[in-house]
């Protein structure tokens, strides 16, 4: 399992690197989307690095990992909404710098908020994780529909197929985070002996969803980079 986590960490490292690189060289709207996917890397690198860096098992670090995960889905959803508005109104505005600074600012504010409060225990971490996964589950569904609408608006453009790839990404993410949410809400990890099949299915859905999401994110951004050449 540790190896699997490490492998996942490597894939997310690649995916995060590709998406961050993509955010630098393209239009401002793509910055939000790409930065959002990059932040997944931060959230995933921690559990991936844990076997090698046990010091990372600090409650603040773990809590920040989940908070950054939440920020990640909010930022990329915001990006897709902006893109949808562009396809309908042809209007777009803002600067890349504000996106980077805004994200950094929110992360810092979250860290400060965490630090001024008591050290998160298991219950607090679980709650933060549930909030993260709930955001991911519902926003993934919303994003799939939003991307579908975007696709129909830009069907004959060079970039249209890239959005089909994003739909696959969010389908994998939905599977991944939905399974995790299910496990957390029903505390299946504590009652896995009572409901072993449910737990096993959810566990493998979570991990496979995570795995395919990491591959599909990296592949999607590489594909987009090719389309936008």
């Amino acid at each position: 399992m540790e190896m699997f986590q490490a492998t996942l960490g490597v894939f997310w490292l690649i995916a995060g690197g590709v998406s961050f690189y993509f955010s630098l060289g393209n239009a401002r709207v793509w910055t939000s989307i790409a930065v959002g996917f990059f932040l997944i890397l931060i959230g995933e690198i921690i559990p991936g690095a844990l076997p090698f860096l046990p010091g990372l098992k600090d409650p603040y670090v773990l809590a920040m990992g989940h908070i950054i995960g939440t920020i990640s889905i909010l930022v990329m959803s915001h990006g897709f909404q902006e893109y949808y508005v562009f396809t309908r109104t042809l209007d777009f505005e803002g600067s890349k710098l504000f996106v980077y600074l805004g994200v950094v600012g929110v992360i810092i504010a979250s860290l400060v908020f965490l630090l001024i409060n008591p050290s998160p225990d298991e219950n607090v971490l679980r709650t933060i994780r549930i909030v993260e996964n709930t955001n991911w589950v519902f926003l993934s569904l919303i994003n799939i529909d939003l991307i579908r609408k975007i696709y129909f608006n830009i069907k004959d453009t060079p970039i249209a197929n890239g959005f089909v790839a994003f739909m696959v990404v969010f389908a994998c993410i939905f599977l991944w985070k939905g399974s995790q949410l299910y496990i957390d809400v029903f505390s299946l990890d504590t009652i896995q002996d009572t409901f072993p099949i449910r737990y096993e299915i959810s566990f493998w859905c979570k991990n496979l969803g995570n795995f395919f999401a990491s591959i599909s994110v990296g592949a999607t951004f590489l594909y987009l980079g090719k389309l936008l050449r």
């Binding site: 042809l90 060079p158 249209a160 936008l228």
Partner: protein
């Protein structure tokens, strides 16, 4: 063309379109001028004859028309204001001025008869026997001479440079000896000098001039308005063609959203009917590029812009 010898030149080669003709005619009147004004136009000739400051005759003639008096004056004014005329003023004696008047309003008996083929002496004898009044106009490519007759009796000669009817035939008959010389025989019914009315006194020449000026001004304004409308229409057509070209190229490279982007950026230029030029399009291309980056890569966008620029150049040729 009205064939008349040149008298004693007072002024030659004036553009009558640049002169206030009413003022000029008034000055000739005040100066008790005797002679004639010859207006040469591409389409016809105008002749005004003065006798002691009185405008006794006006004539405008071309292949189709023969206008006299006020019609002649008005037409001459109109042609002068068109700007393509040439005015020459020649001084004559009183008698010659009247003779020219009767000549111009007389009847042409024979026209353009080649002197090599005609028996001039028998012609002159006939004039005498029939007691004709009128003149023989002898002309070559370079010179013109008139021989006046009254009731069959020769009065005298008028040729280039003279101011009065002359009695020596040398110069006039030398014209007859020039190669290609021809003769017209004109007869008149005039029997002695009459006091002719002063057209400037009996008619409102000033009013005619102002009416012609007004007509010319209106005509010019209408032409300018038509020209600017034509220019506006042409510019509008050019804008439409440019927009259509840009839309087509955007559709090819960016799809339907490209057409919408072109429409939006074209609208943003706010040309308001003004001319579309390269400077306006620089901003258009920049804005289009910025928006197009969301749906296509730089190479595709650059290719689209190149084709747009090339296409637009063909409309500016």
């Amino acid at each position: 063309m009205i064939l008349l010898p040149r008298g004693n030149p007072v002024k030659e080669n004036i553009n009558p379109g640049k002169v206030n003709l009413v003022d000029a005619l008034g000055k000739l009147r005040q100066g008790k001028f005797t002679g004639y004004l010859r207006f040469d136009f591409p389409d016809g000739t105008g002749i005004f004859i003065y006798q002691q400051g009185r405008l006794i005759s006006a004539l405008y003639q071309n292949e189709r028309e023969h206008l006299i008096a006020y019609d002649g004056i008005a037409r001459t004014f109109r042609e002068s204001l068109a700007g393509a005329g040439n005015l020459n003023i020649y001084r004559l004696s009183t008698e010659l001025a009247y003779s020219i008047h009767t000549l111009l309003h007389g009847e042409v008996l024979h026209k353009g008869q080649d002197l090599q083929l005609i028996d001039i002496r028998s012609l002159l004898t006939r004039m005498r026997e029939e007691q004709r009044s009128g003149c023989l106009r002898i002309y070559s490519k370079e010179h013109i001479a008139l021989i006046f007759y009254r009731e069959g009796n020769p009065l005298g000669f008028f040729h280039d440079g003279s101011t009065d009817i002359e009695t020596t035939a040398d110069v006039s008959l030398s014209v007859a000896r020039e190669p290609g010389a021809k003769v017209d025989v004109l007869v008149t019914s005039g029997d002695g000098e009459k006091t002719l009315a002063d057209l400037m006194e009996t008619g409102n020449v000033t009013g005619m001039w102002e009416a012609c000026m007004h007509e010319r001004r209106s005509h010019r304004e209408a032409q300018e308005s038509a020209a600017s409308k034509t220019l506006e229409m042409r510019e509008s057509e050019r804008r439409q063609k440019s927009l259509a070209l840009f839309q087509q190229l955007a559709q090819t490279h960016l799809g339907k959203i490209g057409v919408s982007l072109v429409d939006k950026e074209f609208e943003r230029m706010k040309l308001n009917g003004g001319q579309l030029n390269e400077a306006d399009l620089t901003t258009f291309y920049a804005n289009l590029t910025k928006a197009a980056k969301l749906v296509a890569g730089p190479s595709k966008i650059d290719k689209m812009l190149d084709e747009m620029k090339k296409g637009f150049k063909t409309f500016t040729k």
